[in-house]
Each structure stands twice: as C-alpha cells, then as structure tokens.
C-alpha cells in the first residue's frame, strides 16, 4: 500500500480520552460491565432508554443541568433542563396512556428539530411504546409507506406537514388513530388533536412500567436494493451500546456541550442526537435551522460546543466556503477554542476532509462507521489514536469485525451456510460483524425473510465492501449492492423507480447514484418512455417535479436522462450496475463483467 499521511495525537491531551489504550480497552471490555454504567429502572424493574437518558440524572441530583439547548430557525434559544425534560416526557407518556396507546405500539414523528420532537421520542419510550421518527423532508409517498409498514397508531406532526404530506392518505391508514398537531392548529382540521392542549391536561408524574431489555423501543426505516423500505427494530437494551460507544467513539465527558447535526429522522440523529448524549447527562445542542456555514460556526462558538458529530456532506460544504488554500477568515472569525473533538459519519470521509479539519479548524475529523441495523457505532477513529485519513478506523471494544470473501454476485460467498474470512491484509471483501452487541437490530418489522438474509455463517453481512490493512484499520471501498448513499442517507433505487413508473409517460426506470463532489452521490434516474411519448426538456422537468412531489427532496432524483434502451438482464430486470458503469465511463471489459455478475444475481432473485 502507498505511503500515507498519518495524523499523530498528542501524548498529553488537555482532556484525557475515555479510551486511552486501544488494545488494553478491547482486551478488558465486556458488555455485561458496560451495562453496569447504567442505572436500570428503580426496584430492578428492567431497563428503559428514557429512564437512562432523563430520569436517572434527576435522581442523581443533576436535574438543574441543561439537557437541551434548542436553537430555533429564528435564532431564539430555549434551554430545557433534565428536570424539565423529565416533567415534559412524563406528561407526554401520560397523554399516550390516556389515549389508550400501550406498550410496543408505534408512535411516529414528522417534525422539524423542535423541542417537542425530543419530548415525543422520550415520552413514548417512557410509555414503553415504540418510536419511529420520520425525516420531515420526505414526500407524501415515503411518509405514507412508512406509516403503513410501521403500523403507526399515533403521529405527532405540524399542521403544515400534515396537510402537505399526510391528509390525502389518511383514509388509507386505518391504523393511524391519533394525530397530534404541534403548534398552531386550525380548529377545523379533522381527525387531529392539539399537542399543547393534551400536554397541559396531563399530570407531571408518570411511573414507567417494568420494561424488559428485549422490549421493542425504536423503529428506523432503511432502504434495500429491492422492495419496500425495511423497518429495523431496536430494543431497550440498545441503550447499553449507545452509552458505551458514545463514551469511546465520541469521547463524551460529563461537562461536554455536544452537537450532533443529524436529523432524528435518520438513525444517527436518534442514537447519537438524543439517546447517547443524554444517557451521559450532557448538554445537547438542537438546531432547527438548515445548513449554513456561518450559522454553524456561530453555534459552535456561542454555545461553546466541545464535541461535534457531523457528516461528510456538511464538512464538504464547509470546505467549499473555506478551501484548504484559504483564506480562513470565516472560521477564524469565531472562537472555536472550546471544541475538542470532531467526528463524522454517514459515508466515507475523504482524506482531504480530515486534513482540512486539522488545518482549518485546528482539529482532525474522526470518521466512524455504522448502520441503521447496527444501532450504534461499530468502527471508529478514536480521540487517543492516530488517524489514517480515509480510513473508518478500528472496531470498538466489544465489536468483532471481519472481511468476507465475495461470490459472483458481489456479496459474501456462502457455500453450505459457510463463509470464508479473508485474513490477508488489503484484500477487498464484504464487511461482516459478529452479532451479540446490545444495539444489534432484532429484526425487520414483519419481514423475517429479509432479516434472515442478512446473516450467514454466524456473521451479520453489512452490504459494505471494505479492506483491512495489516494493522487492523478498515477502509471503505463501496457498496456491495445498488443502494445509493447520498448526503449520508441510504436511498433505495426501487423506491425511486416505483415512484417514477407511476407517471403515465414512463415505461421503465433505472436509478443509480451519480458521483457528486459534495453529496458523495446524487440520485440519477434513467427512464424509458411508453409509446406515444417523446423525450423533451419539458417532460424531463415534469418528471423531476412529479418525483419530487411524491418523494420529497431527500429521496427524489436530481437528474433524469431518457434512454429507450435501458440495459436489462435476460430476466428483464433493469441493470443498474451497467447504468452506473456507463455513467462513470468504465471500460467495456468491466461492463461485460458486470453483465455476468448481474445475470448471476437475477438467477437467484427472480
């Protein structure tokens, strides 16, 4: 392997990292001991995420500490202490109980990053319900589908979002019994209740029912290559991993001010934007606003943020505003001296971005890796350890990772239920993890077949291709399937293709990720038209608008190309790999190989 820059760490940092010696920590770690860092429900009544995140700090005399610092779009800042958060979440849990919503029933949110979102998530967990936060930039299509697949019984949203994205499909969602509207609510909005009124009528006290660690707590939808989105199920015991991994990989200390820029509609924004930092009893910054370089620097400075967890797309947008060559006026006009540790997740962080952090912000950026299914950080660059820019780092204590030999379809080769672990360094294969950590997903809701397909030879198969160097650092290579990673979010091509094919002019669609400097990839669709329709700029625009209306900006394609001869397998499936190869201008040889690969795959999956 080529020589590379390694970022060395100071031997005596200003704050001693939680994980000082990687090998020693790995050797002595076990999950049972990690569990002891948490309190458990009083009286030995089990383990509940919300109790660990909120109530136990009040019980330990830290009720006056600020839990949330909520910055509104209008820059208004509101602080919520742990005691106040305990009170609000008690009230929300009572609201659910009064509505007759019980254990393991699904409460969805479709909200911006407002304080009520945090109350709803934690209050639902107190009521031993299951919470499923949806990203508010989803269009009506993805929202309806997820509400249906997740058996939503309650939805908490705003009037504007409800009217725009839910009202039209409400009739088709008979399970959705209660819709609570945060903020202004038109008196004649049928089928809805006022969130504030319900909260005001609820008592301050609530006793959490006994909660088994294996009780379902969180539902996060993720996308696969084919079929509908998959609802990954996590249980209350996941909090053990949220807590332990945040200590190691985000280096959280009791007096930290922490900002995770991810929206809770994505797993990062829930696991590390709500649960993990609150279990550490620290102050969490919640910014309702969208990305804006100046706003972000101002928040880092004004709030004295010490630990910052963000995403490569955001870092690359900051890099555009302040290139490595300078001038550094923008960041340097803010006092970022409180900042101690920066981490990033969502897609691989390019080496350039790691070095940019070091040069422009004075701190390197620590990439880490995990998935919706893993529930918590699995592989990371640690505060005390050297960084190899471009590498996702090494497995966390308690996590066993391996690289598996691949078969013809690009995924791990399975022969008679067995897989082959690659020991030779720098060899590409599929990343696999040994199940057993507490935040491992317990299933895809109502979809045992696809859950079972994630495992082989006692390994969980991640779908990501990696290599491991001779010293144990993992390097991301690409996806082993057709799932698109755009701005840190997984997008299933099937969901986008299906939406496009609802348009009367579209015969067929193939959707791929087109490499993009900022987002990593953007969604690009190739469509063939039905007879009687001709490609035109106007139709292209119409299709973009059509898809965007249905899917919302987070999922919709940003580019559409017409192609009457979409490449297909013999079984008639559109070959996304070939579309991707064409888009990237890969040589003919590679394309023929891809054809073989795709044909083999379609043989197994009709």
């Amino acid at each position: 392997m080529a020589e590379q820059t390694i970022i060395r760490k100071a031997s005596h940092p200003r704050v001693a990292p939680n994980l000082g010696d990687y090998e020693r920590e790995c050797a002595r770690f076990d999950w049972a001991r990690a569990r002891e860092q948490l309190s458990g429900l009083p009286g030995g009544k089990g383990l509940n995420i919300a109790y660990e995140a909120v109530d136990r700090h009040v019980a330990h005399g830290r009720g006056g500490h600020v839990a949330l610092r909520c910055i509104g779009r209008d820059d208004r800042v509101r602080s919520v202490t742990f005691a106040e958060l305990a009170r609000r979440t008690n009230r929300f849990a009572s609201v659910l109980r009064r509505l007759g919503v019980g254990a393991e029933e699904r409460v969805f949110t479709l909200l911006g990053r407002c304080p009520e979102l945090y109350t709803t998530v934690l209050g639902t967990l107190k009521n031993t319900g299951v919470v499923c936060p949806l990203f508010s930039a989803f269009g009506p299509g993805p929202v309806e589908q997820r509400l249906r697949l997740g058996d939503a019984r309650v939805l908490v949203t705003t009037e504007a979002l409800y009217r725009r994205k839910v009202a039209a499909s409400r009739d088709r969602l008979p399970c959705l019994e209660h819709v609570l509207i945060v903020g202004r609510r038109d008196a004649d909005l049928p089928g809805t209740l006022g969130y504030e009124e319900a909260m005001e009528a609820a008592p301050d006290e609530f006793t959490i029912a006994p909660t088994g660690p294996e009780q379902m707590a969180l539902l996060h939808f993720t996308s696969g290559t084919t079929g509908t989105p998959k609802g990954a199920v996590h249980v209350h015991e996941a909090v053990v991993a949220h807590h332990a991994t945040a200590g190691y990989a985000l280096d959280l200390h009791p007096d930290d001010v922490y900002w995770c820029t991810a929206d809770p509609g994505w797993v990062t924004g829930t696991s590390y934007g709500i649960i993990a930092p609150l279990t550490h009893g620290i102050t969490v910054i919640v910014d309702e606003g969208d990305f804006d370089a100046r706003r972000w620097y101002r928040i880092l400075a004004d709030e004295h943020v010490t630990v910052w967890y963000t995403a490569p797309t955001a870092v690359r947008m900051l890099m555009r505003a302040t290139p490595r060559e300078g001038p550094y006026d923008l960041p340097r006009s803010y006092d970022l001296s409180a900042l101690r540790f920066i981490a990033s997740v969502g897609e691989p962080l390019n080496p350039e971005a790691v070095l940019w952090g070091e040069e422009v912000l004075g701190l390197p950026i620590h990439d880490n890796w995990w998935q919706t299914e893993t529930g918590s950080i699995m592989i990371a660059n640690f505060a005390a350890c050297d960084i190899r820019p471009g590498s996702m780092g090494r497995p966390l204590p308690g996590v066993e990772a391996a690289v598996l030999e691949r078969g013809e379809n690009g995924r791990a080769a399975v022969t008679d239920g067995r897989v082959t672990v690659i020991e030779r360094p720098d060899t590409e294969g599929e990343l696999a993890l040994r199940p057993g950590w507490p935040s491992m997903f317990r299933g895809y809701l109502h979809d045992k077949v696809r859950y079972d397909a994630c495992f082989a030879g006692r390994w969980y198969l991640t779908g990501d291709l990696v290599r491991r160097d001779a010293d144990g650092w993992f390097w991301f290579v690409g996806r082993a399937d057709d799932v698109i990673k755009s701005a840190g979010h997984l997008i299933g091509p099937f969901e986008v293709e299906s939406a496009l094919m609802e348009h009367p002019a579209v015969a067929e669609a193939g959707v791929i990720g087109k490499p993009d400097e900022v987002a990593g990839a953007i969604v690009k669709a190739f469509v063939s038209l039905k007879p009687g329709h001709e490609p035109s700029d106007a139709l292209g625009r119409e299709l973009l608008a059509f898809a965007r209306r249905r899917l919302g900006p987070a999922v919709a394609p940003r580019e559409i190309a017409f192609d009457q001869n979409l490449p297909r397998t013999r079984s008639g499936k559109v070959m996304r790999r070939l579309l991707r190869a064409r888009e990237l201008g890969l040589p003919e040889g590679d394309i023929s190989a891809l054809e073989t690969v795709e044909s083999a795959e379609s043989g197994g999956v009709p």
């Binding site: 969208d290 990305f291 804006d292 797309t313 947008m317 701005a487 965007r548 900006p553 940003r558």
Partner: protein, 85 residues
C-alpha cells in the same frame, strides 16, 4: 440588470430544482426555501445557478439576503449593479 430581470433569473433558478414551483401562491415575504422544501444541496445548486447566470460572486455571508423572492431579486439588482460599476 433591472429588478424584473433579476426576479426572472431567481424564478428560473428555482424552477431548475422545483420545476412545478407555484410562485403565485408564495407571499412576497415568505421564506421560499421552507415552502418549496429546498434542502441544503438544493440551495447550494440554487446559489450556483444564480452566480452562473448573473456573473456575480455570492458568498456565505450573502445567504441571509437570500430568504424571500423579493430579497434575492433586490440582492441581485444591487450586487450586479455594483459589480459592474
């Protein structure tokens, strides 16, 4: 550039992202980014298009001036005027 021309360019730049944007239902003081659901990437593309079409440099510091349609039109009229000076 007249203000009218500027407004035309703004609408065109938005239409390239949200082709069916309904400008008639947008109040002059409405934050179009929220109403039309332009995410960060969309907004970046929007600013780039404005820059390309007008030849004006638009910096991070200018973003707060790009909140409503009227703001953006005013900004472009003013900035492009000064650039030409």
């Amino acid at each position: 550039m007249t203000r009218e021309e500027a407004l035309g360019i703004v609408k065109e730049a938005i239409t390239s992202i949200v082709p069916d944007a309904d400008f008639d239902s947008l109040a002059p003081d409405e934050r179009f980014r929220d109403t039309l659901e332009l995410d960060s990437l969309d907004f970046l593309g929007f600013v780039e298009t404005l820059s390309d079409r007008t030849g004006c440099r638009i910096d991070e510091d200018d973003y707060p001036s790009l909140t409503t349609l009227a703001d953006v039109a005013d900004f472009l009229t003013d900035r492009c005027w000064r650039t030409r000076d």
